[in-house]
Subunit: 411 residues, 2 copies
Amino acid sequence: MRLTQYFMPTLKETPKEAEIVSHRLMLRAGMVRQASAGIYSWLPLGYRVLRKIEQIVREEQDAAGWQELLMPTIQSAELWKQSGRYNDYGKEMLRILDRHEREMLYGPTNEELITEIFRNGSKSYRDLPKGLYHIQWKFRDEVRPRFGVMRGREFLMKDAYSFDIDYAAGRRAYQKQFVAYLRTFARMGLKAIPMEADTGPIGGDLSHEFIVLADTGESEVFCDREFLDHDVLGRDVDYSDSASVEKIVDYYTNLYARTDEKHDQALFEKEVPAERRYTGRGIEVGHIFFFGTKYSEPLGAYITTPDDDSVPVQMAPTASACRASSAASSRPATTTTASSGRSPWRPSRSASSTCAPPTPTARRPATSSTASSWKPVSTCSTTTATSPPAPSSPPWTSSGCPGSWWSARAA
Amino acid sequence: MRLTQYFMPTLKETPKEAEIVSHRLMLRAGMVRQASAGIYSWLPLGYRVLRKIEQIVREEQDAAGWQELLMPTIQSAELWKQSGRYNDYGKEMLRILDRHEREMLYGPTNEELITEIFRNGSKSYRDLPKGLYHIQWKFRDEVRPRFGVMRGREFLMKDAYSFDIDYAAGRRAYQKQFVAYLRTFARMGLKAIPMEADTGPIGGDLSHEFIVLADTGESEVFCDREFLDHDVLGRDVDYSDSASVEKIVDYYTNLYARTDEKHDQALFEKEVPAERRYTGRGIEVGHIFFFGTKYSEPLGAYITTPDDDSVPVQMAPTASACRASSAASSRPATTTTASSGRSPWRPSRSASSTCAPPTPTARRPATSSTASSWKPVSTCSTTTATSPPAPSSPPWTSSGCPGSWWSARAA
């Protein structure tokens, strides 16, 4: 299609409600339009980007062994009453009465419904392990939606749920998602750092947030600069080999990385040498939880063991909002960020580095047959960017890491 | 992925609520599960089918020159008050109050929102013609949801909207969608017959329904059997050539085909020779409207003409529900239909004819680089089907038509 025919209503002026750069750029480039507070239409250019992000997420989830399904946006309140969350969720949940006065809601997340689907479909340890995910629109009725699609009310989220026989198996599922997330964001050209996190209203005892460093982020971030020098796409991952998956996770979790919620300054100074201490801001782009039997018990998702016992299934869900990824992806190549010097991955001389074609070895997708390489369309400048050198050795085994595509451009 | 690991919870018994065969099969094969009345979760197998249908729709819309975007599911009531439809729609519209007591709704369709998007993005005749579409979940709060995904409340629908300077241009857009729909359903292995239709609450003065013949259909259908002998995929369509597009449309619209709403028995008998009269039932899978300035006027979508006049833009929208297509696709190969003898396309000796690989010439997609051929996964039997012969001449030009893949099997 010719550009003159393409529906891309650009704006000359920056709308005054757009406080942060990603919001400004996405509006001005004709990628999105606000339909109402915190609710956006994705115009052709923006929707192409969103669909590419969605496809990367899908390919990496599939590669890790998760299966895609799709749950509806509108749910009955009944299951949420069984789990006890119907009242807990408060006003952030969009509550609806249908024409027969039945209580419904627009799903803010799907633990209850997926647990019911699993319960009705699987009864025996032979059906495990199982990983299911979906990419569906969610609604959270934020008091003050802001920052464009980054903190909107209606947003596209991938949520994955694993079902396992015991804690050890559930932990393995958690670790696979951990690695899938590292790869997913890396393929988008984002360096997402996993950080210990509070489990929040979803509950459980194991939790990591994935944070993309950005001046406009809502969280304050403290981490080891070593994170920035690693390339998670440097080699293929064999998800059937639990030991190698665990090795990757151990590497990342042994480095200090916390948001202000969990930050311990004394520990930070003890564990990280002064020259490697990084402090900045970040955007949460993903979150992994492990909550064991929190939902399977009240909702009755029990599994028969080989010894003929009946135990509640162990669950580890993960969530990642595609909206935040697209906003985060629209950020790095902007002048503001690029010239601030505070972002460790600011593009160096090549202002269009986010558009550089990925090198085959550095950004090889897990499933080569379905893979598509991603370029953030909106932020491309017309200068020719040179491809970065591919890493020469696997980052997990080498202490002198060869550096990633991003880190090669860092300060 | 191995079948033993695949999440496909089949049912041995037919659930008693499933009255029609597509509903029974989709439940029993583990394709869908009801989440609440008229609301379904699409399990991995069913979701694969839904996504393939979605992709065919997308490819054919793109080929016809329409551009994809995505509007949100939740809309503000404000625009609907401007168009006057907020009250008209009645209880079928799912109305919502958000936390600030603002009136919102779950979009049953998108004329208002797309008109606003166009209005804010295009002002001049130079921006025309423009065609925009999206594939998004809709909600219509049916009194009695039934027939599984066929008449559910939450459903996936493609709706397309064209914007043109005058009636003649709008009519050309209408005709392009007409042909795109013929091709879309043909690629799904469905013979969808365009029928003159009432315009209903959407309004306008030109309207066709696309009806797939099926015993379980809700509409009674009267048509010329000649429809069944044509293969719309027999040759590529050049959408930039209005005359050839019009020729196809004229061919179809000159043959008698009406549902009971519009049927005229005397005319039917006058126009169609007795041996070619077909009477049966059908499922509506698509609908095209032309409503001119019905929305552009109240919503202020005006365009500057070359003479510097300002005129309301002409609009022709189309809608097609993917849910109905998937249910319709799950139907033909069933024993009930196949043996009833009433469907003109009942599979003959090969019970698995809906799974026969398409012949390159007979079902060649418009955009060969992105095309994927579609097979209804759930209804495949294991018998080997032979491919039908490809038509030897273009169906539009020949009065002795070579017959389509479907019609080759018809009684």
